[in-house]
């Protein structure tokens, strides 16, 4: 094709710029989507809360004042009232953001990653692989979450990491199933065969073509499950697997608040609202991201 060369105008756009422009376009699309923007703002606020908790919190999160426990919101400078130990609820929710965010994001990230990988392999290779992986997933799904968690704790000891691990592992089968279903559809697409005809190997086909085209349901499923992960964290801390008192997390505040639901509902309400807001944020962001990643969606 060298004989063509003289006709060709020099490459006008430098490469780096072009790459950027593509990423930019996803970003721009996200920013254009009002709901996604709301979602991002919520997430951004949470990130700010978790990073700057000491600056934002009005009280030390663990300072007890047993005489003034469960005081109403607004009383004595406690914006959201106090908890059952007289600790400032607002400050605890602010401090709790970090744990809850980390658990929500990383647990789903972990489960999502492994589940997606397994689903990709099962769906793409089919046959024996499919049967083995999916039946294993059935088995894993059958394991009670609590049993799984206690077992993990025994092997690895307690800690935040293991909360993430336990919740993550419990989320694997769901992702695997969703991804597998999607792969079964996508792998029949003609462009997959085209790629094969170009000489691409399996991993390129899987990761460069099938995976990007499976992202939409993965994102939606992941963002929907963040709430579950945040709530599960509380359940786990009661089994000794994970975040221990007095460390604050939304889930544990919520769970503690349960015992005062009738007389002092503010504990459960505000922590529940925090979870709800974050879920809203993640879902709006997730939906927006899904649309932004889909070049076909007009924003």
């Amino acid at each position: 094709m060298s004989n063509q060369a003289q006709n060709i105008s020099p490459v006008s756009v430098p490469l780096a710029a072009k790459k950027k422009s593509k990423e930019n376009s996803v970003w721009r699309r996200l920013l254009k989507n009002k709901l996604a923007l709301v979602g991002m703002i919520i997430i951004a606020i949470m990130v700010i809360f978790s990073v700057f908790a000491p600056l934002i919190a009005t009280h030390p999160p663990n300072a007890m004042d047993l005489a003034n426990s469960l005081s109403e919101p607004g009383v004595d400078g406690h914006i959201l009232g106090t908890d059952n130990y007289g600790r400032d609820l607002f400050s605890r929710i602010i401090y709790g953001t970090q744990i809850s965010l980390i658990v929500g994001i990383f647990a789903i990230g972990l489960g999502g990653m492994i589940g997606t990988l397994l689903g990709l392999v099962a769906g793409y290779y089919g046959g024996k692989w499919d049967a083995i992986i999916m039946r294993l997933m059935d088995g894993l799904f059958a394991f009670p979450f609590i049993l799984l968690s206690i077992a993990l704790m025994t092997v690895l000891g307690a800690g935040l990491f293991n909360v993430i691990l336990a919740i993550g592992v419990a989320n694997i089968p769901g992702f695997a199933r969703i991804v597998r279903g999607q792969v079964l559809a996508v792998k029949e697409e003609e462009y997959i065969e085209v790629t094969r005809s170009l000489g691409a190997n399996h991993s390129r086909i899987i990761f460069h073509h099938i995976l990007p085209n499976c992202m939409a349901p993965i994102i939606v499923y992941a963002t929907m499950n963040v709430a579950g992960a945040i709530i599960s964290e509380a359940a786990l801390s009661f089994l000794g697997l994970g975040v221990q008192p007095p460390t604050a997390s939304w889930g544990s505040i919520l769970k503690d608040g349960k015992d005062f639901l009738v007389l002092s509902p503010h504990m459960a309400t505000f922590s529940g609202l925090a979870i709800l807001l974050s879920v809203l944020g993640f879902n709006l962001f997730g939906d927006g991201l899904r649309d932004a990643l889909d070049p076909k969606m007009k924003v």
Partner: protein, 319 residues
């Protein structure tokens, strides 16, 4: 079809073997001596030792494992350490209760979630759509215990319409079971309901753009039938997948719901058993649940062929 069912049942064997082995290992690995837990805080060390012996816990691990597999092969799930009853009968006593609760919750979730999703999709970007979507997010982030207590406070304590907890019994009449069923089913249905609404919406949005929907309209069909007959059946496939997953986790024991409403189901059985280190019951229930899951997946796969005649079962999942 028959072949598929048989193959799946054969598949079950290795699954169960893996599950059985894993659950065996895990139950032996976690701290907490069944004998000690069973005997309670007041037990003395030699009583515990005696108990261990009588439970066969002092045998070498491999012998216990062989024993376990051996009786499993004969369909014997063993005898509960705490209940002193055959595990299978414990499970079979509770499974119908869990089934009843799950089916009701599922029905509620479907009856509300799917129409909500459909209306949302047919009126995309309307106030309706936003309402349904926001509510569904509230639904997934609503902790069951919170919702359960609120429902009971309002409907049982405040209004006195419905019983707060328990399952009632058929001997008090069918109505007794029904009234006991209402609140737990509602509590249990929120998450699936929200999920169904979202899935239905996105899947309907896809379907409603298809040519055959245009065809149906061109026939002069009422919009109602276009949506509920022509579109819905086509939108069912992803819904079925999610439904299968939701049913699976419900039948595996809606632990929280059962605990809050004191519903005598599988979930409580298994959690109790774990806490009491009743390994035999844990093993039995986990295996049982595994079987149920595989069967539900199979059922879902069969349902695929019902809603979608194009799906060829024998190719699905094995091709």
């Amino acid at each position: 079809m028959l072949r598929l069912i048989l193959r799946r049942l054969v598949d079950l064997i290795p699954t169960l073997l893996v599950v059985a082995t894993t659950v065996f290992i895990i139950t032996r690995m976690i701290p907490g001596d069944p004998a000690a837990v069973l005997l309670g805080p007041q037990a003395s060390p030699d009583e515990i030792a005696k108990m261990r012996e009588s439970l066969g816990l002092n045998q070498p691990m491999y012998l216990q494992y062989i024993d376990f597999l051996g009786s499993l092969l004969q369909g014997d799930l063993g005898t509960s350490l705490g209940y002193h009853q055959p595990v299978l009968s414990l499970i079979l006593e509770r499974f119908p209760n869990t089934l009843l609760l799950s089916v009701c919750a599922l029905a509620i979730a479907l009856l509300i979630g799917i129409p909500a999703g459909i209306i949302s999709a047919t009126k995309q970007y309307s106030a309706w759509d936003y309402t349904v979507m926001i509510l569904s997010l509230v639904g997934v982030s609503m902790p069951i215990f919170w919702l359960g207590v609120m429902l009971v406070l309002y409907f049982s304590v405040h209004l006195g319409w419905l019983p707060a907890t328990g399952m009632g019994s058929l001997s008090e009449g069918f109505g007794s079971v029904i009234t006991h069923l209402v609140l737990p089913s509602i509590a249990l249905s929120t998450i699936p309901m929200a999920t169904f609404a979202r899935i239905t919406r996105s899947s309907m949005l896809e379907v409603i753009r298809q040519d055959y929907i245009k065809t149906a309209r061109a026939k002069g069909l009422r919009e109602f039938f276009v949506v509920w007959k022509h579109a819905l059946k086509n939108a069912m496939t992803p819904l079925l997948t999610v439904m299968g997953m939701q049913i699976s986790s419900m039948l595996g024991g809606a632990v929280l719901t059962e605990t809050i409403f004191s519903w005598p189901g599988m979930g409580r059985l298994v959690v109790d058993a774990i806490e009491n280190r009743d390994f035999v019951v844990v093993q039995g229930t986990v295996l049982f649940i595994a079987v149920i899951f595989v069967l539900i997946n199979l059922l879902v796969d069969i349902l695929y062929t019902v809603v979608n005649p194009r799906v060829n079962l024998s190719n699905k999942g094995e091709g």
